[in-house]
């Protein structure tokens, strides 16, 4: 649902025949994504606050919820499946995974080694 208002089409200097020509549909995808992301967030919070599961189970569950959250963001908001022109977003995505992996795995490694060394 890109409205033309935020995109500056000044590039080609061509006059569109009718600026309001793009057809409006109700943004079901975005509503669904919004609800899902809220559900996933509060599910993670609930798991931690309720302390009903053992620690390892909680950690595994919130990691799973985080991955689901990632998929919701990528598929429902970030138009992963749509593309015009070269697949630049694939490169960015690969770099994104690299950074995410480095941060998560790196932090876990650093903090666990630190606690093992110091404690």
């Amino acid at each position: 649902m890109t409205t033309h208002s935020d995109v500056n089409p000044s590039h080609g200097a061509t006059l569109p025949s009718d600026p309001k020509a793009h057809h409006e549909t109700f943004p079901w995808k975005h509503i669904l994504g919004f609800v899902l992301s809220l559900v996933l967030t509060f599910a993670a919070l609930g798991l931690v606050l309720s302390a009903a599961l053992p620690l390892t189970a909680v950690i595994v569950s919130i990691v799973v919820l985080a991955v689901l959250q990632l998929l919701v963001q990528l598929l429902l908001f970030m138009h992963l499946t749509e593309r015009h022109g070269p697949a630049t977003h694939v490169l960015t995505l690969v770099f994104g995974f690299f950074v995410a992996f480095t941060i998560v795995a790196g932090s876990a490694w650093i903090m666990f080694t630190f606690h093992a060394t110091v404690a």
Partner: protein, 651 residues
């Protein structure tokens, strides 16, 4: 009941009173001048509401210059305090505040906005675009940065400055050890400015990917545009980590959570970890655009194309990758053990390789070139050896066992000032002198420029070279005074003299700007330096629409090619008739929305949740209004284009 620090809302102390008086006088002066010359409407219509990337860039540069003077004053205060042993110019607490604001302001409110400003000015012109991809968002970026910086600076006179260092390490910066609003100012000011930075990163990335002139392939882009592309990617991936870390510490301070506390299962070292996951890419965010500026300046003033173009691009990509894998070198002494420290030590040393490639490429660009020693080129030439000193001492610091000796000593202080001043600031100065005619239509004076350059570079080395020695002699950073008899006194005095010398150097820049506004050489050609990239093909300053015809590009160094190259004839196509140009409308909302953010966050700093909530509500009102705004763009008519082009003598 009012919070206990309500009674201490206004900070007391002689220097604060002086600051109060100066702030009031300056504000009255600005209001007076604007009213006397009837410029309020002009200010609102031409600047505060603008979405033009060139004007936004200029506003970034003005704000960054103001912050440079503020951060510089902090530096001078520190150097005055340390000039002699057992000095009582500043107390310990006050000194803590001054080094905290010095570091934070110089990195986030001076270096970054200077570079983002120059990117705004030059990058869209270099790729032949008429604006950035999201001009309205660009205005939001600027105003959130601006009000974030203002919020941070407000702490000086209202409530008290943050005092836990620019790194704001937990648990020191937590609510237990650091009550009061100071650290809240840090957290909210940085988060507000961070919104703008992240939006800028996205904006520049989309602009470069989507809006290059027809024919310009990625590998045809000027090197400054390449550096912007890589920097944008770093911003997009690094800044969210800072946002998360700041927000978590905010929860600790405002709502009593225990994420980074010493007790109740908090992990203070996790703050250090998160801070540097952002912090290391951040130092490349502030150096890569400077590398880009350097590449443009050296190539232009050597009259040669850039040596090793693809190696330059490749090394920047390598630096971007590696910059996310080195962050532990900021806290080897945390003690995560030999495996962790060795890994991050080696990855840090690896960065020296692509950086070295770039240094050699700049040198080979100059080799057999016809070098013109303009002020911009002088800054670029000074950059290379200074940055090499900074870089090599960085590799020394990367040796983890040795770092246990250097860590947080003046050796480190000297190292990062050699990279951040010798790299970023020299690069910014080169960029300012280089793009000044493109921004304002006149050149800065070369003679005053050389005074500016030589005073600053000599004083810079006088200030920071002795710091290496002091560090090796055991002086640690952030100490507010020291006893005599340690052999530190002479070197400290020399450094203080150098610091004031740098201030004099900056005065030459100020004088140069004022002098050149009146007498500076006017640039009527648009091509002030016999330039190579497309920004020099339009008028100086560029018209609102940048290019009457969007240029078609046939390869690298497009404008050079247009003037002297083998594709000269292809560029000589008959001018098509003008067509109306589609441009975005100005809007006051980015300014007002950021003002609402400012008021809201100021409320949160003092835990006045009513003010905070009302401010946020106003922010949402502005977002709502924007969502249903349809009249967002307009066309510049052919007559107006003809009029503008004729006035510039280009018809």
């Amino acid at each position: 009941m009012l919070p206990h620090y309500f009674n201490h809302l206004f900070v007391t102390g002689t220097d604060i009173y002086i600051a109060d008086v100066l702030i009031i006088l300056t504000s009255l002066g600005i209001v007076g001048v604007l009213t006397y010359f009837k410029k309020w409407k002009w200010l609102w219509r031409e600047w505060l509401t603008t979405v033009d990337h060139k004007k936004i860039g200029i506003m970034y540069i003005i704000a960054a210059t103001a912050m440079f003077f503020r951060g510089g004053m902090d530096g001078l205060m520190m150097r005055t305090q340390l000039a002699v042993p057992n000095n009582h110019f500043l107390g310990a607490e006050h000194y803590d505040q001054v080094f905290t604001t010095h570091g934070t302001i110089m990195i986030l409110f001076m270096a970054m906005p200077y570079l983002i400003g120059l990117i705004n000015v030059a990058m869209p012109l270099q790729i032949g675009a008429r604006d950035v991809a999201f001009p309205y968002l660009n205005a939001i970026s600027f105003w959130t940065f601006f009000f974030g910086a203002m919020l941070f600076n407000l702490s000086f006179v209202i409530g008290g400055s943050p005092d836990a260092g620019w790194t704001s390490y937990a648990p020191l910066a937590g609510p237990t050890f650091d009550p009061g609003p100071g650290e809240n100012y840090y957290l909210f000011g940085l988060n507000l400015a961070g919104i703008g930075t992240l939006a800028s990163g996205i904006n520049f990335l989309v602009t470069i990917i989507k809006m290059r002139a027809p024919g310009m392939k990625l590998m045809d882009m000027p090197m400054f545009t390449w550096s912007t592309l890589i920097t944008s990617i770093l911003i997009i991936f690094a800044f969210p980590v800072l946002t998360v870390a700041l927000s978590l510490l905010t929860f600790d301070r405002l709502f009593g959570s225990h994420i980074f506390s010493m007790t109740h299962g908090g992990m203070p070292m996790m703050w250090v970890n998160l801070f540097w996951i952002w912090g290391h890419p951040e130092v490349y965010i502030v150096i890569l655009p400077a590398f880009g500026i350097l590449s443009e300046v050296i190539s232009t003033f050597s009259g040669k194309k850039l040596f090793g173009y693809s190696a330059m691009v490749g090394s920047m990509v390598a630096i971007a990758f590696l910059s996310f894998t080195v962050w532990v070198h900021h806290f080897f002494t945390m003690g995560a053990g030999p495996a962790v420290n060795s890994f991050f030590g080696v990855s840090t040393m690896l960065i020296a390789i692509p950086t070295g490639v770039k240094v050699f490429n700049w040198i080979f660009t100059m080799y057999r070139g016809k070098i013109r020693f303009t002020t911009a080129m002088l800054w670029a030439l000074a950059f290379i050896p200074t940055f090499v000193v900074g870089g090599m001492t960085g590799v020394m610091l990367a040796v983890a066992p040795a770092d246990y000796q250097y860590h947080n000593s003046y050796f480190l202080i000297a190292h990062f000032h050699y990279t951040l001043i010798g790299g970023t600031v020299f690069g910014v100065f080169a960029g300012l002198y280089y793009w000044w005619p493109k921004m304002f239509g006149f050149k800065l004076n070369e003679r005053l420029g050389r005074w500016n350059f030589w005073t600053f570079i000599i004083s810079f080395n006088v200030t920071f070279l002795p710091m290496f020695l002091l560090g090796l002699m055991g002086m640690t950073r952030r100490m507010y005074t020291y006893p005599p008899g340690l052999g530190w006194s002479h070197l400290n005095m020399i450094e203080t003299v150098g610091a004031f010398g740098q201030a004099i150097g900056m005065m030459f820049l100020a004088v140069n700007i004022v002098w050149s506004i009146k007498y500076g050489e006017r640039d009527v050609t648009g091509d002030a330096w016999d330039g190579r990239a497309l920004e020099w093909s339009t008028t100086s300053p560029a018209p609102e629409y940048n290019f009457a015809h969007v240029p078609v590009v046939y390869g690298r160094d497009a404008f050079w090619d247009m003037k002297y190259g083998k594709n000269r004839e292809k560029y000589q196509v008959k001018a098509k008739p003008y067509r109306p140009i589609h441009m975005p409308n100005n809007s006051g909302r980015p300014f007002l929305m950021s003002l609402a953010f400012f008021i809201s966050f100021w409320g949160f700093v003092f835990k006045w949740y009513l003010v905070g909530g009302l401010g946020l509500a106003a922010v949402f009102v502005f977002m709502y209004l924007r969502s249903f705004e349809y009249d967002t763009d307009h066309y510049i008519s052919v007559e107006e284009i003809e009029h503008t082009e004729a006035a510039a003598g280009r018809l």
